[in-house]
Symmetry: C2
């Protein structure tokens, strides 16, 4: 109990979750975070049929110098995830591009600051790597996420297009 005599406000998982590089034991929980998100239509789910594909994708990311999968971990649970990618380019005098991808915060913890901590961590890593800009795309349906990124200083400057290949 602090000296004031009031009981200390317990810290929320959003404040205390540890943000770190994912390990393979986190994989099923990461896929579950994506599966719980209906937007985007990636159709993710961890099943006996899909497990091998996810394990192969994890190994590719783990072994790739340009892409790193992160988790936010609290009390042994995975409460957030993002993928941070670095892409060389020619424009901007050969600027290195940092892309923030596949960002998820567990639904019950949204709006409590964990997402902002994850984005700040990604920006720190991007700065250390020498990227001048962090870019991301967000599905047009995710209007709350758009306001979130704008609050964090992101400018909505681009339209994002996709085409499925036949």
């Amino acid at each position: 109990m602090p000296a004031s005599g009031r009981p200390a406000e317990p810290l929320s998982p959003a404040e205390t979750a540890v943000i770190e590089v994912a390990v393979e034991d986190d994989l099923q929980a990461i896929v579950a975070l994506h599966a719980a998100d209906a937007v985007g239509g990636h159709g993710d789910s961890w099943t006996p049929e899909t497990e091998a594909d996810y394990r192969a994708a994890f190994a590719t990311l783990r072994d790739h110098p340009d892409h790193t999968l992160y988790v936010a971990r609290h009390d042994g649970a995975i409460v957030g995830t993002f993928l941070l990618s670095f892409l060389p380019g020619l424009t901007g005098r050969g600027a290195l591009h940092a892309q923030l991808r596949a960002v998820q915060v567990r639904a019950d913890l949204r709006g409590q600051g964990l997402g902002a901590r994850m984005v700040a961590r990604a920006e720190d890593i991007a700065r250390e790597k020498g990227a001048g800009v962090v870019e991301l795309t967000s599905n047009l349906q995710r209007t709350k996420a758009h306001r979130f990124y704008e609050r964090l200083g992101y400018a909505r400057s681009h339209a994002g297009f996709k085409k499925k290949l036949g």
Copy 2:
């Protein structure tokens, strides 16, 4: 002269330009295409001060297995360029993402089909590599480009955000 007696319509550079992997001798002309494009604010220009940075960026792209710089070449001139990137991912059961970046067609040749040929080539390469989707972002100011991509079957599904790192 064809058998009909009418002189053959000369083929336009947009139809005859050869689309191929860029070589270092193309670099100054590629940068000039980007420099001629006011949108985006990348501030590209080939000068004694910037040349070394562009050459280093070119070498990085040339040696990188995931990124390839292409040109459209006509009569020894560079009339178009794009950068095609492949990114591993976890969502979509570990789907490989193809990103079309830094697309430029020389201003006097726009609207004649060269851009469509370049995009089709990128899609063919992406298909061969096993990517199920091609994605791209386009500055909100480029409304003509947006209609162009929509005509080619691209769905405007995302908002693109950027933050400059301090």
